[in-house]
Protein backbone atom coordinates (compact mmCIF):
# COMPACT_ATOMS: atom_id res chain seq x y z
CA UNK A 1 0.00 0.00 0.00
CA UNK A 2 1.47 3.36 -0.93
CA UNK A 3 1.13 5.73 1.97
CA UNK A 4 0.71 9.31 0.99
CA UNK A 5 0.59 12.61 2.78
CA UNK A 6 -1.87 15.09 1.39
CA UNK A 7 0.27 18.02 0.17
CA UNK A 8 -0.87 19.84 3.30
CA UNK A 9 -3.94 19.55 5.48
CA UNK A 10 -6.86 21.26 3.71
CA UNK A 11 -7.53 24.80 4.86
CA UNK A 12 -10.97 24.06 6.34
CA UNK A 13 -9.37 21.90 9.04
CA UNK A 14 -8.23 23.84 12.12
CA UNK A 15 -4.77 22.94 13.44
CA UNK A 16 -6.08 21.73 16.80
CA UNK A 17 -8.10 18.98 15.08
CA UNK A 18 -5.11 17.51 13.26
CA UNK A 19 -3.56 14.29 14.57
CA UNK A 20 -0.89 12.28 12.79
CA UNK A 21 -2.53 8.85 12.56
CA UNK A 22 -1.91 6.11 9.99
CA UNK A 23 -4.41 3.29 10.33
CA UNK A 24 -2.30 0.91 8.27
CA UNK A 25 0.72 1.20 10.56
CA UNK A 26 1.08 -1.10 13.54
CA UNK A 27 4.09 -0.26 15.71
CA UNK A 28 6.85 -2.77 16.30
CA UNK A 29 6.06 -5.09 19.20
CA UNK A 30 2.27 -4.57 19.10
CA UNK A 31 0.38 -7.87 19.29
CA UNK A 32 -3.21 -6.63 18.83
CA UNK A 33 -3.92 -4.30 15.89
CA UNK A 34 -7.13 -2.78 17.34
CA UNK A 35 -4.99 -1.14 20.01
CA UNK A 36 -3.82 1.59 17.62
CA UNK A 37 -7.41 2.92 17.77
CA UNK A 38 -7.78 2.65 21.54
CA UNK A 39 -4.45 4.44 21.95
CA UNK A 40 -6.09 7.47 20.38
CA UNK A 41 -8.67 7.52 23.16
CA UNK A 42 -5.98 6.97 25.80
CA UNK A 43 -4.00 9.89 24.34
CA UNK A 44 -7.08 12.10 24.64
CA UNK A 45 -7.18 13.26 20.99
CA UNK A 46 -10.29 15.25 19.94
CA UNK A 47 -13.38 13.01 19.48
CA UNK A 48 -13.55 14.08 15.84
CA UNK A 49 -10.11 14.65 14.32
CA UNK A 50 -8.39 14.84 10.95
CA UNK A 51 -5.26 12.99 9.90
CA UNK A 52 -3.36 13.97 6.76
CA UNK A 53 -2.21 10.36 6.23
CA UNK A 54 -3.51 8.14 3.43
CA UNK A 55 -4.85 11.01 1.40
CA UNK A 56 -6.31 12.71 4.47
CA UNK A 57 -9.44 11.69 6.37
CA UNK A 58 -11.52 12.30 9.48
CA UNK A 59 -11.87 9.82 12.35
CA UNK A 60 -14.90 9.63 14.64
CA UNK A 61 -14.13 8.27 18.10
CA UNK A 62 -17.52 8.19 19.80
CA UNK A 63 -20.30 5.64 19.49
CA UNK A 64 -22.90 8.37 18.90
CA UNK A 65 -20.95 9.99 16.04
CA UNK A 66 -20.12 6.63 14.46
CA UNK A 67 -23.79 5.63 14.51
CA UNK A 68 -24.68 9.02 12.99
CA UNK A 69 -22.09 8.38 10.29
CA UNK A 70 -23.79 5.09 9.45
CA UNK A 71 -27.32 6.44 9.53
CA UNK A 72 -27.04 9.86 7.94
CA UNK A 73 -26.48 8.75 4.37
CA UNK A 74 -27.42 12.16 2.99
CA UNK A 75 -24.17 13.55 4.37
CA UNK A 76 -22.05 10.42 4.82
CA UNK A 77 -22.22 8.46 1.57
CA UNK A 78 -20.86 5.00 0.75
CA UNK A 79 -20.25 5.96 -2.89
CA UNK A 80 -16.56 6.12 -3.92
CA UNK A 81 -15.05 5.91 -0.46
CA UNK A 82 -11.70 4.10 -0.54
CA UNK A 83 -8.95 5.42 1.72
CA UNK A 84 -6.44 6.24 0.33
CA UNK A 85 -8.63 7.36 -2.58
CA UNK A 86 -8.75 5.24 -5.74
CA UNK A 87 -10.90 6.71 -8.49
CA UNK A 88 -12.91 5.44 -10.09
CA UNK A 89 -13.62 2.60 -7.70
CA UNK A 90 -16.05 -0.22 -8.59
CA UNK A 91 -19.51 0.71 -7.31
CA UNK A 92 -20.09 -2.31 -5.11
CA UNK A 93 -23.70 -3.45 -5.04
CA UNK A 94 -25.38 -2.71 -2.69
CA UNK A 95 -22.69 -1.35 -0.35
CA UNK A 96 -21.42 1.46 -2.60
CA UNK A 97 -24.87 2.87 -3.41
CA UNK A 98 -26.87 5.27 -1.21
CA UNK A 99 -30.58 4.89 -0.47
CA UNK A 100 -33.02 4.79 -2.19
CA UNK A 101 -31.25 3.07 -5.15
CA UNK A 102 -29.28 0.97 -2.68
CA UNK A 103 -32.47 -0.95 -2.00
CA UNK A 104 -32.57 -2.53 -5.48
CA UNK A 105 -29.76 -4.98 -4.78
CA UNK A 106 -30.34 -5.05 -1.04
CA UNK A 107 -33.88 -6.36 -1.65
CA UNK A 108 -32.63 -8.83 -4.19
CA UNK A 109 -30.10 -10.32 -1.78
CA UNK A 110 -32.13 -10.07 1.44
CA UNK A 111 -34.15 -13.33 1.21
CA UNK A 112 -30.92 -15.31 0.86
CA UNK A 113 -29.42 -13.91 4.06
CA UNK A 114 -32.35 -13.81 6.50
CA UNK A 115 -32.06 -15.75 9.76
CA UNK A 116 -34.49 -18.26 8.24
CA UNK A 117 -32.32 -18.74 5.13
CA UNK A 118 -29.20 -19.07 7.25
CA UNK A 119 -30.82 -21.69 9.49
CA UNK A 120 -31.27 -23.78 6.35
CA UNK A 121 -27.51 -23.64 5.77
CA UNK A 122 -26.79 -25.12 9.20
CA UNK A 123 -26.28 -28.72 8.06
CA UNK A 124 -23.83 -27.71 5.35
CA UNK A 125 -21.85 -25.50 7.72
CA UNK A 126 -21.87 -28.21 10.38
CA UNK A 127 -20.56 -30.78 7.93
CA UNK A 128 -17.81 -28.45 6.71
CA UNK A 129 -16.72 -27.64 10.28
CA UNK A 130 -16.70 -31.29 11.34
CA UNK A 131 -14.60 -32.51 8.43
CA UNK A 132 -12.17 -29.62 8.42
CA UNK A 133 -11.47 -29.86 12.15
CA UNK A 134 -11.25 -33.67 12.03
CA UNK A 135 -8.53 -33.35 9.37
CA UNK A 136 -6.08 -31.92 11.92
CA UNK A 137 -7.60 -32.66 15.36
CA UNK A 138 -5.12 -35.49 16.01
CA UNK A 139 -2.08 -33.51 14.83
CA UNK A 140 -1.57 -31.60 18.08
CA UNK A 141 -1.47 -28.17 16.44
CA UNK A 142 -2.20 -26.03 13.37
CA UNK A 143 -1.85 -22.61 11.87
CA UNK A 144 -5.39 -21.52 12.59
CA UNK A 145 -5.47 -18.94 9.77
CA UNK A 146 -4.14 -21.13 6.96
CA UNK A 147 -5.72 -24.39 8.11
CA UNK A 148 -9.13 -23.15 9.18
CA UNK A 149 -10.10 -19.48 9.40
CA UNK A 150 -9.38 -18.65 5.75
CA UNK A 151 -10.59 -21.98 4.32
CA UNK A 152 -13.92 -22.11 6.14
CA UNK A 153 -15.51 -18.88 4.85
CA UNK A 154 -14.04 -19.42 1.38
CA UNK A 155 -15.65 -22.86 1.25
CA UNK A 156 -18.92 -21.29 2.41
CA UNK A 157 -18.63 -18.75 -0.40
CA UNK A 158 -18.21 -21.57 -2.95
CA UNK A 159 -21.36 -23.23 -1.60
CA UNK A 160 -23.36 -20.01 -1.75
CA UNK A 161 -22.26 -19.45 -5.32
CA UNK A 162 -22.92 -23.01 -6.42
CA UNK A 163 -19.25 -23.71 -7.18
CA UNK A 164 -17.53 -27.06 -6.62
CA UNK A 165 -15.23 -27.65 -3.67
CA UNK A 166 -12.31 -28.38 -6.05
CA UNK A 167 -12.04 -24.66 -6.69
CA UNK A 168 -11.10 -23.89 -3.09
CA UNK A 169 -7.34 -23.48 -3.78
CA UNK A 170 -8.03 -21.10 -6.68
CA UNK A 171 -10.33 -18.90 -4.58
CA UNK A 172 -7.99 -18.99 -1.59
CA UNK A 173 -5.18 -17.75 -3.84
CA UNK A 174 -7.35 -14.97 -5.30
CA UNK A 175 -8.45 -13.74 -1.89
CA UNK A 176 -4.98 -14.05 -0.35
CA UNK A 177 -3.61 -11.71 -3.01
CA UNK A 178 -6.61 -9.39 -2.78
CA UNK A 179 -6.36 -8.96 0.97
CA UNK A 180 -2.61 -9.16 1.58
CA UNK A 181 -0.74 -7.89 -1.48
CA UNK A 182 0.64 -4.35 -1.34
CA UNK A 183 2.17 -4.33 -4.84
CA UNK A 184 0.02 -2.06 -7.10
CA UNK A 185 0.74 -4.10 -10.25
CA UNK A 186 -0.12 -7.38 -8.52
CA UNK A 187 -3.27 -5.81 -7.09
CA UNK A 188 -4.41 -4.53 -10.48
CA UNK A 189 -3.88 -7.96 -12.07
CA UNK A 190 -5.68 -9.63 -9.16
CA UNK A 191 -8.75 -7.40 -9.66
CA UNK A 192 -8.77 -8.31 -13.36
CA UNK A 193 -8.52 -11.99 -12.42
CA UNK A 194 -11.39 -11.81 -9.92
CA UNK A 195 -13.66 -10.05 -12.41
CA UNK A 196 -12.71 -12.60 -15.11
CA UNK A 197 -13.76 -15.44 -12.78
CA UNK A 198 -17.03 -13.64 -11.94
CA UNK A 199 -17.76 -13.04 -15.63
CA UNK A 200 -17.45 -16.76 -16.44
CA UNK A 201 -19.40 -17.72 -13.33
CA UNK A 202 -22.38 -15.44 -14.01
CA UNK A 203 -22.47 -16.32 -17.74
CA UNK A 204 -22.57 -19.97 -16.77
CA UNK A 205 -25.32 -19.45 -14.18
CA UNK A 206 -27.28 -17.43 -16.73
CA UNK A 207 -27.34 -20.48 -19.02
CA UNK A 208 -27.73 -23.11 -16.30
CA UNK A 209 -29.34 -21.47 -13.29
CA UNK A 210 -29.41 -23.40 -10.01
CA UNK A 211 -30.66 -22.57 -6.55
CA UNK A 212 -27.51 -20.64 -5.59
CA UNK A 213 -27.03 -16.93 -4.99
CA UNK A 214 -25.17 -16.28 -8.23
CA UNK A 215 -28.10 -17.73 -10.20
CA UNK A 216 -30.59 -15.63 -8.25
CA UNK A 217 -28.64 -12.44 -8.96
CA UNK A 218 -28.16 -13.12 -12.66
CA UNK A 219 -31.75 -14.22 -13.33
CA UNK A 220 -33.40 -11.47 -11.26
CA UNK A 221 -35.46 -8.92 -13.14
CA UNK A 222 -35.87 -5.22 -12.42
CA UNK A 223 -39.27 -3.50 -12.24
CA UNK A 224 -39.40 -3.32 -16.06
CA UNK A 225 -38.71 -7.01 -16.42
CA UNK A 226 -35.09 -6.57 -17.55
CA UNK A 227 -31.94 -8.14 -16.23
CA UNK A 228 -29.96 -5.81 -13.96
CA UNK A 229 -27.04 -4.03 -15.66
CA UNK A 230 -24.21 -6.54 -16.22
CA UNK A 231 -21.63 -4.38 -14.46
CA UNK A 232 -23.87 -4.19 -11.36
CA UNK A 233 -24.20 -7.98 -11.36
CA UNK A 234 -20.41 -8.36 -11.45
CA UNK A 235 -19.97 -5.72 -8.75
CA UNK A 236 -22.47 -7.49 -6.52
CA UNK A 237 -20.56 -10.76 -6.94
CA UNK A 238 -17.36 -8.88 -6.16
CA UNK A 239 -18.83 -7.40 -2.96
CA UNK A 240 -20.01 -10.79 -1.74
CA UNK A 241 -16.52 -12.12 -2.42
CA UNK A 242 -14.74 -9.37 -0.46
CA UNK A 243 -17.32 -8.83 2.31
CA UNK A 244 -17.52 -12.29 3.78
CA UNK A 245 -13.97 -13.69 3.67
CA UNK A 246 -11.36 -11.57 5.43
CA UNK A 247 -13.92 -10.30 7.94
CA UNK A 248 -14.92 -13.80 9.03
CA UNK A 249 -11.31 -15.05 8.94
CA UNK A 250 -10.01 -12.36 11.25
CA UNK A 251 -12.99 -12.34 13.59
CA UNK A 252 -12.44 -16.07 14.03
CA UNK A 253 -8.73 -15.45 14.55
CA UNK A 254 -9.47 -12.97 17.33
CA UNK A 255 -11.93 -15.33 18.99
CA UNK A 256 -9.61 -18.35 18.92
CA UNK A 257 -6.61 -16.25 19.96
CA UNK A 258 -8.56 -15.08 23.00
CA UNK A 259 -9.86 -18.55 23.90
CA UNK A 260 -6.38 -20.04 23.52
CA UNK A 261 -5.24 -17.99 26.47
CA UNK A 262 -8.49 -17.97 28.50
CA UNK A 263 -9.17 -21.43 29.97
CA UNK A 264 -12.12 -20.11 32.05
CA UNK A 265 -13.81 -18.72 28.94
CA UNK A 266 -13.27 -22.04 27.12
CA UNK A 267 -14.89 -23.81 30.04
CA UNK A 268 -17.83 -21.39 29.98
CA UNK A 269 -18.38 -22.04 26.28
CA UNK A 270 -18.06 -25.81 26.78
CA UNK A 271 -20.70 -25.64 29.50
CA UNK A 272 -23.02 -23.87 27.08
CA UNK A 273 -22.61 -26.38 24.25
CA UNK A 274 -26.11 -27.71 24.86
CA UNK A 275 -27.67 -24.31 25.50
CA UNK A 276 -27.72 -22.44 22.17
CA UNK A 277 -29.28 -19.28 23.66
CA UNK A 278 -26.54 -18.87 26.27
CA UNK A 279 -23.89 -19.79 23.69
CA UNK A 280 -25.29 -17.13 21.35
CA UNK A 281 -25.24 -14.46 24.07
CA UNK A 282 -21.58 -15.18 24.72
CA UNK A 283 -20.79 -15.09 20.99
CA UNK A 284 -22.43 -11.66 20.82
CA UNK A 285 -19.93 -10.37 23.40
CA UNK A 286 -17.05 -11.79 21.36
CA UNK A 287 -18.50 -9.96 18.33
CA UNK A 288 -18.50 -6.71 20.32
CA UNK A 289 -14.95 -6.98 21.56
CA UNK A 290 -13.54 -8.31 18.28
CA UNK A 291 -14.79 -5.77 15.73
CA UNK A 292 -12.32 -6.09 12.87
CA UNK A 293 -13.66 -3.63 10.32
CA UNK A 294 -13.17 0.08 9.87
CA UNK A 295 -15.77 1.51 7.54
CA UNK A 296 -15.35 4.42 5.11
CA UNK A 297 -17.69 7.23 4.21
CA UNK A 298 -17.47 10.24 1.86
CA UNK A 299 -18.97 13.62 2.72
CA UNK A 300 -21.51 14.62 0.06
CA UNK A 301 -21.63 18.38 0.63
CA UNK A 302 -19.89 21.22 2.41
CA UNK A 303 -21.52 21.26 5.81
CA UNK A 304 -21.11 21.69 9.54
CA UNK A 305 -21.48 18.77 11.94
CA UNK A 306 -20.93 19.21 15.71
CA UNK A 307 -19.48 22.65 15.01
CA UNK A 308 -16.84 21.27 12.64
CA UNK A 309 -16.58 22.24 8.98
CA UNK A 310 -16.65 19.31 6.59
CA UNK A 311 -16.02 19.73 2.90
CA UNK A 312 -17.55 17.74 0.04
CA UNK A 313 -15.45 14.63 -0.69
CA UNK A 314 -13.79 14.59 2.73
CA UNK A 315 -13.32 10.97 3.81
CA UNK A 316 -14.39 9.64 7.22
CA UNK A 317 -13.49 6.40 9.01
CA UNK A 318 -16.01 4.79 11.34
CA UNK A 319 -14.04 2.40 13.52
CA UNK A 320 -16.33 -0.23 15.00
CA UNK A 321 -13.86 -1.24 17.69
CA UNK A 322 -14.00 2.32 19.05
CA UNK A 323 -17.81 2.47 19.05
CA UNK A 324 -17.99 -0.92 20.75
CA UNK A 325 -15.74 0.12 23.64
CA UNK A 326 -17.19 3.59 24.22
CA UNK A 327 -17.44 3.93 27.99
CA UNK A 328 -20.51 6.16 27.72
CA UNK A 329 -22.47 3.25 26.19
CA UNK A 330 -20.92 0.05 27.56
CA UNK A 331 -20.21 -0.67 31.20
CA UNK A 332 -16.64 -1.74 31.74
CA UNK A 333 -16.10 -1.63 27.98
CA UNK A 334 -12.62 -3.14 27.76
CA UNK A 335 -13.64 -6.24 29.76
CA UNK A 336 -14.99 -9.36 28.12
CA UNK A 337 -18.18 -10.31 29.95
CA UNK A 338 -19.76 -13.39 28.38
CA UNK A 339 -22.99 -12.63 30.26
CA UNK A 340 -23.21 -8.99 29.19
CA UNK A 341 -26.91 -8.19 29.11
CA UNK A 342 -27.14 -5.01 27.06
CA UNK A 343 -24.91 -5.15 24.04
CA UNK A 344 -25.77 -2.80 21.19
CA UNK A 345 -22.49 -3.30 19.40
CA UNK A 346 -21.99 -2.08 15.83
CA UNK A 347 -19.64 -4.80 14.61
CA UNK A 348 -21.95 -5.36 11.65
CA UNK A 349 -22.77 -1.69 11.19
CA UNK A 350 -26.19 -0.10 11.69
CA UNK A 351 -28.64 1.70 9.44
CA UNK A 352 -29.34 1.06 5.77
CA UNK A 353 -26.11 -0.84 5.02
CA UNK A 354 -26.26 -3.08 8.11
CA UNK A 355 -24.23 -6.18 7.19
CA UNK A 356 -26.43 -8.54 5.21
CA UNK A 357 -24.11 -11.40 6.09
CA UNK A 358 -24.25 -10.92 9.86
CA UNK A 359 -26.50 -13.92 10.50
CA UNK A 360 -24.37 -16.11 8.27
CA UNK A 361 -21.12 -14.84 9.80
CA UNK A 362 -22.34 -15.45 13.34
CA UNK A 363 -23.54 -18.91 12.45
CA UNK A 364 -20.22 -19.76 10.77
CA UNK A 365 -18.41 -18.71 13.92
CA UNK A 366 -20.85 -20.36 16.31
CA UNK A 367 -20.88 -23.72 14.53
CA UNK A 368 -17.11 -23.64 14.12
CA UNK A 369 -16.60 -22.97 17.81
CA UNK A 370 -19.11 -25.60 18.94
CA UNK A 371 -17.51 -28.23 16.75
CA UNK A 372 -13.98 -27.16 17.67
CA UNK A 373 -14.68 -27.45 21.40
CA UNK A 374 -16.17 -30.90 20.88
CA UNK A 375 -13.10 -32.14 19.03
CA UNK A 376 -10.40 -29.96 20.64
CA UNK A 377 -11.69 -28.94 24.09
CA UNK A 378 -8.40 -27.35 25.15
CA UNK A 379 -5.76 -25.52 23.14
CA UNK A 380 -3.19 -22.77 23.56
CA UNK A 381 -0.97 -20.42 21.60
CA UNK A 382 2.10 -22.22 20.25
CA UNK A 383 5.40 -20.95 21.62
CA UNK A 384 6.73 -20.24 18.13
CA UNK A 385 3.82 -17.91 17.36
CA UNK A 386 5.34 -14.94 15.53
CA UNK A 387 4.39 -11.88 17.55
CA UNK A 388 4.69 -9.55 14.56
CA UNK A 389 2.13 -11.23 12.33
CA UNK A 390 -0.55 -8.55 12.58
CA UNK A 391 -1.93 -5.95 10.20
CA UNK A 392 -4.09 -2.82 10.32
CA UNK A 393 -6.21 -1.26 7.57
CA UNK A 394 -9.90 -1.51 6.74
CA UNK A 395 -9.97 -5.03 8.14
CA UNK A 396 -7.54 -5.70 10.99
CA UNK A 397 -6.16 -9.06 11.93
CA UNK A 398 -3.43 -11.66 11.81
CA UNK A 399 -1.39 -13.31 9.07
CA UNK A 400 -0.82 -16.41 11.17
CA UNK A 401 -2.01 -17.84 14.45
CA UNK A 402 -0.23 -20.98 15.57
CA UNK A 403 -2.15 -23.09 18.05
CA UNK A 404 -1.26 -26.33 19.80
CA UNK A 405 -3.07 -28.87 21.92
Amino acid sequence: MTLQWAPSPPDHVPADLIVDFDFFQTPEGLTDPVQIWHDLVRRGVPPIFYTPRNGGHWVFLKYSDIVEGYRNHEIFSTYQTPIPPIEPFPVMQPQGVDPPDHNIFRKLLAPMFTPLAVRRMTDGLQHRAETMIASFADKGGCDFIADYASRFPTGTFLDLFGLPEERLPEFLALSETFFRSTDPAVRAQNLTDIYAVLEVLFRDKERNPGSDIASTIVTARDENGNQHPWQDILNCGFLLFVAGLDTVTNTMAYVWRYLASAPEARAQFRERLDDPVAFQLAIEELMRINAVSNIFRRVTQDCEYKGIQFRRNDRVILSNTLANRDASVFQNPQAIDLDRQVNNHVTFGVGPHRCMGSHLAKREIMISLQEWLRQIPDFELAEDQDKGSIFGGSVMGFTSLKLRW
Binding site: T114, A117, V277, Q341
Partner: protein
Protein backbone atom coordinates in the same frame (compact mmCIF):
# COMPACT_ATOMS: atom_id res chain seq x y z
CA UNK B 1 -48.47 -4.18 27.89
CA UNK B 2 -47.80 -4.69 24.26
CA UNK B 3 -44.84 -4.40 21.96
CA UNK B 4 -44.64 -2.07 18.98
CA UNK B 5 -42.07 -2.26 16.16
CA UNK B 6 -41.10 0.51 13.77
CA UNK B 7 -40.43 -1.30 10.50
CA UNK B 8 -38.99 1.82 8.88
CA UNK B 9 -36.21 1.71 11.43
CA UNK B 10 -35.74 -2.06 11.81
CA UNK B 11 -32.77 -3.29 9.74
CA UNK B 12 -33.10 -6.95 10.54
CA UNK B 13 -30.30 -7.49 13.07
CA UNK B 14 -32.52 -10.19 14.61
CA UNK B 15 -31.17 -9.57 18.08
CA UNK B 16 -34.77 -9.53 19.30
CA UNK B 17 -35.44 -12.94 17.79
CA UNK B 18 -32.29 -14.38 19.37
CA UNK B 19 -33.21 -13.05 22.80
CA UNK B 20 -36.93 -13.72 22.90
CA UNK B 21 -38.11 -16.05 20.12
CA UNK B 22 -41.48 -16.46 21.88
CA UNK B 23 -42.42 -12.92 20.89
CA UNK B 24 -40.18 -12.00 17.95
CA UNK B 25 -39.27 -13.60 14.67
CA UNK B 26 -38.07 -12.25 11.33
CA UNK B 27 -39.70 -12.50 7.93
CA UNK B 28 -38.37 -14.54 5.00
CA UNK B 29 -38.21 -11.71 2.48
CA UNK B 30 -36.47 -8.78 4.12
CA UNK B 31 -35.48 -10.35 7.42
CA UNK B 32 -37.28 -7.66 9.40
CA UNK B 33 -38.96 -8.18 12.74
CA UNK B 34 -42.33 -9.93 12.98
CA UNK B 35 -44.16 -9.67 16.29
CA UNK B 36 -45.58 -13.10 17.01
CA UNK B 37 -47.67 -11.94 19.96
CA UNK B 38 -47.94 -8.20 20.58
CA UNK B 39 -49.59 -8.68 23.97
CA UNK B 40 -47.16 -10.91 25.77
CA UNK B 41 -47.56 -12.95 28.93
CA UNK B 42 -46.20 -11.28 32.09
CA UNK B 43 -43.59 -14.00 32.63
CA UNK B 44 -41.97 -12.98 29.33
CA UNK B 45 -41.59 -9.36 30.35
CA UNK B 46 -37.92 -9.57 31.31
CA UNK B 47 -36.97 -11.26 28.06
CA UNK B 48 -38.98 -8.77 26.02
CA UNK B 49 -37.29 -5.87 27.79
CA UNK B 50 -33.90 -7.39 27.06
CA UNK B 51 -34.81 -7.65 23.37
CA UNK B 52 -35.98 -4.03 23.29
CA UNK B 53 -32.79 -2.79 24.95
CA UNK B 54 -30.58 -4.80 22.62
CA UNK B 55 -32.10 -3.62 19.36
CA UNK B 56 -29.23 -1.66 17.76
CA UNK B 57 -31.67 0.46 15.76
CA UNK B 58 -34.04 1.35 18.60
CA UNK B 59 -36.89 -0.08 16.53
CA UNK B 60 -38.82 -1.66 19.41
CA UNK B 61 -40.97 -0.04 22.06
CA UNK B 62 -43.16 -1.29 24.88
CA UNK B 63 -46.51 0.48 25.01
CA UNK B 64 -48.98 0.55 27.85
CA UNK B 65 -52.40 -1.03 27.58
CA UNK B 66 -53.94 -3.07 24.82
CA UNK B 67 -54.54 -2.08 21.24
CA UNK B 68 -57.16 0.67 20.94
Amino acid sequence: MRIVANLQVCQGHARCEDLCPEVFSTDAVEGKVVIEQSEFAPELEDKVRMAVRNCPEGALRIAKGTKA
